[in-house]
């Protein structure tokens, strides 16, 4: 079965190794979804506040807020999420201490597998089930932790035999396991560790969870300055006689300019090797992609040479993702 296109899904978990730019990618993707007329919710799971800075808006809270037309943003808070859930499910009067129970629950969650995860993932699934939004983009936890989060319903099923939490896992599993609804978008940069973690993640998603891989975003791809013949010409420019002509024309030594180009060529080359390894691992025999499943789409986002990080950068990511998804 062909995997549905990325933006056709209703619930997207964006993950990746720390530092690869998953928040910016989530924000760009959310902008793109909203621009396509989808009622979009973007949720930051770790509440570091980076998502708000991508939109240059006030800090996000658990209560979602429309930050741009058609785009709502929130940050996850497992205690608040549980409180909302309890008051919806138990119809408890406030006085009965929903707050105390929520705190207790958070405490239990520090020991019991899947308890905190089920509350956060549950809230997101609930937004999807209730059709409050056309698409929910989740700036999820890092790739080392996402598998535990997405496998939470199964973990809960093993441990908890009865109770409200147990009753919730079935419909959540239905949402999470349906590739037409839910997908994971893994973000990597073409570097050694991010690539290694992505390959590991793809394997673990397939073996330990029921959630499908919607695609892989390769972020911060450096530009290719020269093709072969051009590179030879570039080398010739470094010869003393050529350097002298350049120096005369520019009114100063050209070497730093040439060095900067060399720096870029070298960096791009070393990154290309990692990218190659990623492609090979995904497509090769014995790789993490089970036979019969098509290769996940690779979406390339260029390195942004910008003065600052903020809405302008997010817009450029949006444009790059749009071009990749339409190609």
């Amino acid at each position: 079965m062909a995997e549905p296109p990325v933006l056709e899904r209703k619930l997207l978990f964006v993950t990746g190794k720390g530092g690869v730019g998953k928040t910016t990618i989530s924000a760009g993707l959310a902008l793109l979804a909203a621009a396509k007329g989808k009622r979009t919710l973007v949720c930051e799971l770790d509440a570091k506040g980076d998502l708000a800075s991508c939109f240059e808006t006030a800090p996000t809270r658990f209560q979602e807020r429309e930050v741009l037309p058609g785009l709502w943003a929130m940050s996850m808070d497992s205690e608040a999420s549980l409180r909302q859930y309890l008051s919806l499910q138990l119809r408890l009067p406030r006085a009965a201490g929903v707050g105390a129970v929520a705190r207790m629950f958070d405490f239990v969650a520090s020991a019991a597998p899947g308890v905190r995860e089920i509350v956060t993932v549950g809230k997101l699934c609930w937004e999807v089930r209730e059709r409050h939004y056309d698409i929910v983009v989740v700036d999820a936890v890092a790739s080392g932790h996402i598998v535990g989060q997405l496998a939470a319903p199964q973990a809960i099923n093993r441990l908890v035999q009865v109770g409200l939490v147990r009753q919730q896992t079935d419909w959540m599993l239905d949402i999470l396991s349906d590739p037409a609804i839910t997908g994971v978008l893994a973000v990597a940069t073409p570097e050694e560790m991010p690539v290694a973690e992505t390959i590991e993640l793809v394997g673990r998603l397939a073996s330990e969870t029921t959630v499908s891989l919607a695609g892989i975003v390769v972020n911060r791809v450096l530009p290719e300055l020269f093709v072969t013949r051009e590179e030879q010409a570039f080398d010739a420019l470094g010869e003393p006689a050529a350097v002298d002509i350049l120096a005369d024309a520019l009114g100063g030594r050209p070497e730093p300019l040439l060095d900067a180009a060399r720096l870029m060529v070298r960096a791009r080359r070393s990154r290309a090797a990692h990218l190659e390894r990623l492609r090979e691992a995904l497509g090769g025999a014995g790789g993490p992609v089970p036979p019969g499943v098509g290769l996940p789409p690779l979406l390339y986002v260029p390195y942004l040479f910008l003065r600052s990080h903020g809405l302008r950068a997010t817009r450029q990511v949006e444009a790059a993702l749009a071009a990749e998804l339409e190609s």
């Binding site: 190794k17 720390g18 530092g19 928040t23 770790d46 570091k48 800075s53 309890l86 201490g97 929903v98 105390a100 129970v101 207790m104 405490f107 239990v108 520090s110 020991a111 019991a112 597998p113 890092a142 080392g144 932790h145 908890v160 009865v162 409200l164 939490v165 147990r166 570097e191 050694e192 560790m193 991010p194 290694a196 390959i199 590991e200 300055l225 051009e230 010409a233 570039f234 010739a236 420019l237 006689a241 002509i245 350049l246 024309a249 520019l250 009114g251 050209p254 730093p256 300019l257 060095d259 900067a260 180009a261 720096l263 870029m264 960096a267 691992a281 014995g286 040479f305 910008l306 990080h309």
Partner: protein, 415 residues
């Protein structure tokens, strides 16, 4: 702060400490920097130096003689389990020989094994071996030790304490785990102590029958039962009752660990790149250090663009190159020119790429310089590592990077 002062180098700092904790946001190269500091200390300062690392890249692990990180398609847990039996390993003399150096001291490396550290801690603090066994076999314990995210942080400091107390090493360099937030690492001992003193822990471990005697807590149990089911709640309570037997030992230990971190013999080195998000997290971390009475030894900036990119006049030269491209290409490729025979259109395109690339890189270099100046006001940047483009794959590579960490910044690098 005077930068000419000889104290402001990582070398001087490391020479005066017994423990160096390398911390910072995720993805900035902490593991490699920790390895580089330890390797440089072993080579130049001597003594027995140990680097405790968490999840090294495959080639870095090889360079340190550590068991290979699990093959990528396998889970991390497996890699850790295999690493479990090894403890610290000495980096072989011939690895140094291949790198062309004769170390004054010894370099040892150990991979942190969270699970094993937990097991040891439980065995040490349990009242008797039977209780220890019951805790170790409990499925909830398996979860705490294996998946409880903050436990990696706690175990890194716990293991550090143990190693320091054993006294086998002159210097211990610790690479901190990839946490969601660098701050988690600092808060780990405190959280451990809070866990045991929590009122909630007491509520949960009240014997089941007497729960309903406490009128105030009754709604709590009522709701908890409905949400989680009483069986699960009982399983949790049972586990916590067992776990509570460890409380005294754990809390005492956490206090000792906290004292060791705050001791003058310990220094924190914050690693960051100059990108916006890591730098913000690193900044928050640095502000927290003094509040926790911890000593910031210095800041190491990784993957920094070379300083020459911001030199005056270069941006103008790049602009000129873009404007004069066709003329310069014609001159280069003209008869008797150094590139006679080349297609001037192709050469023009190459010149344009060179100019555009410089304009692009220059934007990033200036942004980095501004970030760096801001950081300078807040704290001391003591080392700066250029973006080397190549991954570290042997000890020579580790030492090559170490050279940048070690050498004090020259005045023009500081500006």
């Amino acid at each position: 702060m005077s930068v000419a002062n000889s104290q402001t180098s990582i070398e001087a700092l490391v020479a005066a400490r017994e423990i160096v904790v390398v911390c910072g946001p995720g993805g900035v190269g902490k593991t490699t920097v920790a390895a580089a500091i330890a390797a440089m200390a072993a080579v130049h300062l001597g003594g027995r130096v140990l680097v405790v690392t968490v999840d090294p890249a495959r080639r870095l692990a090889q360079a340190l003689g550590l068991p290979e990180r699990g093959r990528e398609e396998r889970g991390r847990e497996k890699a850790r389990a295999r690493a479990g039996g090894t403890g610290a390993q000495q980096v072989a003399a011939n690895a140094f020989a291949r790198a062309g150096v004769v170390p004054r001291g010894e370099l040892w490396a150990e991979m942190l094994d969270t699970k094993r550290s937990w097991d040891r801690l439980v065995s040490r603090h349990a009242p008797d071996p039977a209780t220890a066994r019951r805790i170790l076999d409990n499925p909830l314990y398996q979860n705490i030790s294996g998946r409880f995210v903050q436990s990696h942080d706690y175990m890194a400091v716990e293991r550090l304490y143990e190693l320091h107390a054993e006294g086998d090493y002159d210097l211990i360099v610790v690479d901190t785990p990839p946490t969601r937030n660098a701050i988690d690492f600092l808060l780990a001992p405190e959280r451990m102590a809070d866990f045991f003193s929590s009122r909630l822990l007491r509520l949960l471990t009240v014997p089941y029958r007497s729960r309903f005697a406490d009128v105030a807590a009754r709604p709590f149990y009522y709701v908890a039962d409905r949400v989680l089911g009483s069986q699960f709640l009982q399983d949790i309570a049972e586990f916590f009752i067992l776990f509570q037997t460890l409380s005294e030992g754990f809390v005492t230990r956490a206090a000792q660990v906290e004292r060791l971190l705050a001791d003058r013999r310990t220094a924190f080195i914050v690693v960051s790149t100059l990108e916006a998000v890591p730098i913000r997290e690193a900044g928050a971390f640095m502000r927290l250090l003094p509040a926790k009475h911890l000593h910031l030894g210095g800041v190491v900036l990784n993957r920094v663009l070379p300083a020459y990119l911001t030199e005056g006049g270069l941006a103008e030269r790049a602009e000129k190159l873009l404007a004069l491209g066709p003329a310069v290409a014609a001159e280069l490729c003209g008869p008797g020119g150094p590139m006679a025979g080349w297609d001037p259109v192709l050469v023009e395109r190459v010149l344009e790429e060179v100019g555009t690339n410089f304009a692009n890189i220059g934007v990033v270099a200036r942004r980095e310089a501004a970030q760096r100046a801001e950081l300078k006001r807040a704290s001391e940047v003591v080392a700066s590592i250029p973006d080397l483009a190549e991954d570290v794959h042997d000890l020579a590579g580790v030492l090559g990077l170490g050279h940048y960490v070690w050498s004090p910044l020259t005045p023009d690098q500081i500006a």
